[in-house]
């Protein structure tokens, strides 16, 4: 390589280093501190893509340690697991292996299965699109062309039916039982996060413009969701946001240039948040998942990587710590010791 070229490469490397957030021993120490803080706080479950092509459910500690397969079914993919509120049972979707799992329409695919907390003794409940636990774990809500239905698990009967208003996917019931949140068409605008009163059916907008995958904070007062804001160049990058259910000011939790952030899920006490960092839009379900991340909600907003564009938009954002997790999809968190013998 000519001397001039070497100098140019060196200069570019130095410039690159100057742009990167400092990866110091202090950073590593902060991440290690976070790891120790969360390692013993219950369990995560997520879908992890297998080399043979299907997805299995994998149990792990919140720091990613102690991974253990809960399902091992080459003919089926198990997707989108959710423990019941008391942590004794689990709902997940069973989808024929070979089916490409849609990152935003997975709730329409396959069948809903109810099982114990370790995904054993599974029983297929039926199609039950977007099936989600009620707060007492005795019912599920579903979203379909028929509307929103509440189904009693003991009798399998529909006990209530509401108009779905503009909801079209990702409907979730709040832990206090008072609200639904989901993704909806509102006033000609698609991909809007909407909160609905379970009793009256009245609804309000939580966040407009290019949002999806909402979920409730444990206090039932805030909604966490992915959003791709318009204040970016070109296609832009999807970030993780949170907003009060009544739809006042929203704030960014985590963002990173060159990564789409999906799968946001809060710990049962609302102190931590897990998510996925996908280099391609879609959250990774169409491929092999995406690297997981875990952070304290109190540290938000955090910007990962160099992300010069995002740092300009959020100059007061922090740089971490963010604990790296394995490639996964749609994680869920419980503080119940699901491994304890009963």
């Amino acid at each position: 390589m000519p001397r001039s070229s070497r100098m140019l490469v060196l200069a570019l490397a130095l410039w690159g280093l100057s742009q990167a957030p400092p990866a110091t021993a202090a950073d590593a120490k902060a991440v290690e501190s976070l790891r120790k803080e969360v390692a013993g706080r219950g369990f995560l479950v997520a879908s992890i893509k297998q080399k043979r092509g299907d997805w299995d459910l994998v149990l792990m500690r919140p720091d990613g340690s102690g991974q253990r397969k809960l399902t091992d079914t080459p003919d089926w993919s198990e997707a989108a697991p959710r423990w019941s509120p008391e942590g004794r049972r689990m709902l997940y979707r069973r989808i024929k292996a070979g089916t490409v799992i849609s990152h935003d329409r997975w709730g329409f695919q396959g069948e809903l299965v109810i099982a114990d907390a370790l995904a054993r003794n599974g029983r297929v409940l039926g199609k039950h699109t977007w099936g989600c636990w009620s707060p007492d774990g005795k019912q599920i809500s579903t979203l379909s062309l028929k509307g929103i239905e509440v189904i009693d698990l003991a009798t399998s009967k529909v006990t209530r039916r509401l108009s779905r208003a503009g909801y079209f996917q990702q409907l979730f019931w709040s832990p206090d039982g008072k609200w639904f949140c989901g993704t909806a068409n509102v006033g000609g605008e698609l991909w809007t996060i909407v909160r609905m009163d379970v009793v009256t059916g009245k609804w309000n907008v939580v966040s407009r413009f290019r949002n999806c995958t909402p979920d409730w904070a444990p206090d039932s007062k805030q909604v966490i969701f992915s959003n791709r804001p318009s204040n970016q160049q070109g296609y832009g990058w999807t970030q993780l946001w949170i907003a009060p259910g009544e739809g006042s000011k929203r704030r960014m939790i985590y963002g990173e240039d060159n990564r789409h952030i999906y799968g946001g899920a809060l710990s049962p006490d609302g102190r931590y948040v897990v998510f996925t960092r996908c280099p391609k839009d879609g959250g990774g379900s169409e491929r092999a998942g995406a690297p997981g991340g875990l952070m304290r909600l109190a540290d938000a907003p955090i910007i990962g990587g160099n992300s010069p564009s995002l740092r300009k938009l959020h100059p007061r954002a922090h740089e971490g710590p963010v604990l790296k997790l394995p490639d996964l999809w749609e994680p869920h968190w419980t503080y119940t010791d699901v491994t304890a013998k009963r």
Binding site: D104, R105, F108, Q109, F168, Q169, L190
Partner: protein, 203 residues
Amino acid sequence: MPHSETPAMEPVDGPVSESAATGRPSGPALARIILLGVIVAGLAAIAVATALRNSDTTTASADSRDTLAMTAVAGEVHTAGRFEVTAKLVELPGKFLANDGLYNYAFVLKYEVLEVHRSEGEVGSTLFVAHYNPRKKRARVADEFYSNLGGNLERFRAGDVHRLALEQPWDQHYIGPLVDRYHKLADKRIYWAIWSNSVGNGG
């Protein structure tokens, strides 16, 4: 200039049965010629009859092929849904979103109704129709979630006339993102397009 590799034809030598003196055929030769003529005439008659019969068969085959082709072109436009109309696409209200295989949506288009072929209930003179993933050719628009969609329409152009098989209300047949640039028009009825065929340029 490319050269031909076909060899030139050589003149063919063969026996000639003629009277060397007069240039006329001799008696036995004349008889053979007459017999040959009768045989040739008979064969020709058979050939013509066969040709005529084949001609009828060919016409019938062509007719049935045309019918099959017409059926294939029409597809399910005469049977799908509860409504069937011929209508002119009034305009394209803005650009379609990308259909990159990642996000799917329906897009509301405005039509002027030219003829109602089938309907359950009144169909107004203006129709709003939600088309699924409008950047895709209708022949390729069906997917895992909406497997009954189709048609021969290749693209949406303002002024074109379409024959549409529809359902209504749209939200009992489609659950997904909807781009509705006519959302400010209150109380309009949106139909869901199941089958969409091209009728021609309405311009």
